[in-house]
């Protein structure tokens, strides 16, 4: 959903696993929807880790743990690998996350998050380890993501890092504009290219 990004300060949901693939984020059987109903996808985020086959919540899975909540998902390295399904980004957005923090993202999924106004924030492995430790010690740990200044801060320890975001995408996020809005204005350039 298009929304303007500025400063986000929130508690976090920790998922300290590596190589979380998009088949786990949203299993293929939920890809049959023909509409972009983020609420539907959000309800099925991490479906098979979150619920037993009969629909009972799996105790111990982080989304079922009342100690954790917030707008920031913190995940282990290589988050979003595998399938290009944008439904994974819709599920993350639909659940209510605005930011995903990891030390490494898979390429296609990272673009999908950005195209859905979910901000992937790449941090160093040290920052990530410390953040997992902070959240483990105190689930009320907050993180501040400052989009204008491109900084991310673990408010429990004060550790802060800058993160990468290109100027174009930053402008889009801060002004709730998407790539299609931009491309539709480029028709002359496209036609000129085709005549080359």
């Amino acid at each position: 959903m298009k929304q303007k990004f500025d400063i986000i300060e929130s508690t976090c949901v920790p998922l300290p696993l590596e190589n979380v693939d998009t088949d786990q984020i949203i299993p293929a059987r939920f890809l049959k929807a023909t509409t972009r109903d983020e609420r539907f996808f959000g309800e099925n985020l991490f479906r098979d880790w979150r619920y037993d086959p009969d629909g009972t919540p799996v105790p111990g899975f982080v989304l079922n743990d009342p100690r954790y909540g917030g707008e920031i998902l913190v995940a282990g390295r290589n988050f979003g690998s595998g399938s290009s399904r944008e439904h994974a980004a819709w599920a993350i957005a639909g659940y209510g996350f605005k930011v995903v923090i990891s030390s490494f993202f898979a390429d296609i999924h990272k673009n999908n998050e950005l195209n859905n106004f979910v901000l992937p924030v790449v941090v160093t492995p040290e920052f990530l380890d410390e953040l997992f430790a902070s959240i483990d010690a105190d689930p009320a740990t907050k993180v501040r993501v400052d989009v204008p200044n491109q900084t991310v801060t673990n408010l429990a320890t004060g550790r802060s890092e800058s993160f990468e975001l290109n100027a174009y995408k930053k402008y889009c996020l801060m002004n709730a504009l998407d790539d299609i809005d931009y491309l539709l204005l480029q028709k002359d350039r496209i036609e000129a290219y085709e005549k080359r």
Partner: protein, 464 residues
């Protein structure tokens, strides 16, 4: 001193967006039924049409059942998605190969075999295995649905140019070692994120020696190393494969095209951001034991132990082995299997069926094994019949199903039940990929055939 990737990419840059990505022109967009409906909705919401409908080709493949395609799809949700693609293609004036159309099949099998994917092109699809088309010497990669909408609307996407990586495999592959084993070997060495951020050029004598089918398999799996895409520079093998294909250039146009395609190679002094070299002789038939494609071992090898795994990855490793029902340090050879799946955009081509048939010829399917043999397209299906492979397979107790993605991701009725083991020629062994609770062991068509006739994990070299 440019790489081939630079040459193709740079030739397609409409403009460099200030402080941002490149606006890249796309020669070919493929749409399947799963990742396109919301993109077409987007066009309707904006009240716009496709800018270049003639560059777009649609076909359903993920939901199609592999039996009874002449009847309406039973699952109403699958049917709705397949029908939506047909309706969208009609509304926006796009080419559409529907179910039972003689050109229908898995997009990544049909594109090259139809000559729709050609050297030097930029090719995208809302599907990570779009990298397959790189085998013809194209820059091909998977995109999300928002990006599908961008291409439908403007024939362009905004994309940060990836870095370039060259993977060379030198030497000769051993007997019974296939392109699939080469790819599984590379993943096991480079991990599933080893090529993330890169576009891969495959080179070296072992890659050059691969048939087009082999190259399609290798490029298909680029994404499983994290690569944005992967390709092989076009050569005589490519031209021989493409010549005469339905949509390939004809006559003088063909001669001119080949002349231009011969220029598509990395300069001798091209600099890659990363380069790795492997020895083909080191590669054995491979099989995966875990829940990502990088968790592979030689078929005669042992599972790693915790000591082999970095401490930060222990949690993922243990979760994975628990899911698979395996113990660290054990061997897979001789382990009983329940299902065998031959097919998918990875290994659903004619050469894969020839390989499978070469092992099962004169043998019988093991009792208790359920085998699904699913051609990647109707063209492959027809060729199986033309070569008489169907007779060989039937005599051994196998039947050929109708084309589609099938049990690779179980969006159609072909699902592996919970807890069951499937030796699969597909591309992913993620938890639940082939159905909730399914346990996937990725391998080549030869290894799949060996499991199908013995009922357990078997080194195919013993049956050649």
């Amino acid at each position: 001193m440019n790489t081939l990737f630079d040459k193709i990419w740079d030739a397609h840059v409409v403009q460099h967006v200030e402080g941002g990505p490149d606006q890249l022109y796309i020669d070919r967009l493929y749409c399947h039924e799963v990742t396109s409906p919301q993109a077409f909705d987007g066009l309707r919401a904006r009240g716009i049409r496709c800018l270049r409908p003639e560059r777009i080709v649609c076909m359903p493949d993920h939901n199609t059942p592999t039996e009874g395609q002449d009847r309406p799809i039973e699952d109403p949700v699958s049917k709705k998605q397949v029908d939506a693609l047909a309706a969208n293609a009609a509304e926006f004036g796009l080419t559409h190969f529907g179910m039972m159309h003689p050109d229908n099949g898995i997009i990544h099998v049909v594109g090259p075999e139809k000559g729709l994917s050609l050297p030097g092109m930029t090719i995208v699809c809302g599907d990570s295995h779009t990298s397959t088309h790189g085998a013809v010497g194209a820059v091909a990669f998977g995109i999300g649905t928002s990006e599908v909408e961008m291409v439908l609307a403007s024939q362009c996407i905004l994309q940060q140019k990836p870095k370039s990586m060259r993977i060379r495999v030198e030497g000769t592959l051993g007997k019974g070692v296939t392109a699939k084993d080469m790819a599984l070997f590379l993943m096991s060495r480079l991990t599933t994120s080893g090529a993330t951020g890169y576009f891969v050029e495959y080179a070296g004598s072992a890659v050059r020696a691969l048939s087009m089918e082999g190259r399609l398999t290798l490029c298909n799996l680029s994404i499983e190393m994290g690569g944005r895409g992967g390709f092989v520079a076009p050569d005589e093998t490519t031209f021989a494969y493409l010549k005469g294909r339905d949509c390939a250039p004809k006559g003088e146009e063909w001669d001119r095209a080949v002349e231009a395609w011969r220029q598509l190679r990395s300069d001798d002094d091209a600099v890659f951001d990363r380069e790795v070299v492997f020895d083909a002789a080191e590669i054995a038939p491979m099989i995966t034991y875990g829940t990502n494609p990088g968790m592979g071992i030689p078929i005669t090898g042992y599972l790693p132990t915790l000591d082999d795994i970095p401490s930060e990855a222990h949690a993922s490793f243990c979760k994975s082995l628990k899911y698979m029902g395996f113990r660290p340090g054990y061997m897979l050879l001789g382990k009983p299997v329940d299902y065998v799946f031959l097919g998918a955009c990875t290994n659903g081509r004619i050469e894969d069926f020839r390989a499978f048939a070469s092992i099962v010829a004169g043998r019988r399917k093991a009792p208790g094994v359920v085998a699904w043999l699913v051609p990647g397209s109707w063209k492959v299906y027809r060729q199986i019949e033309a070569e008489g492979l169907d007779k060989v397979l039937e005599a051994a107790g196998f039947e050929i199903r109708q084309p589609g993605c099938s049990a690779c991701l179980a969006m159609n009725p072909d699902r592996i039940p919970a807890g069951k083991y499937c030796v699969s020629t597909s591309n992913r062994n993620f938890e639940g990929r082939q159905g909730p609770g399914s346990r996937t062991l990725l391998a080549s068509p030869l290894t799949a055939a060996a499991a199908a006739v013995t009922g357990c994990i078997t080194d195919p070299r013993a049956l050649l």
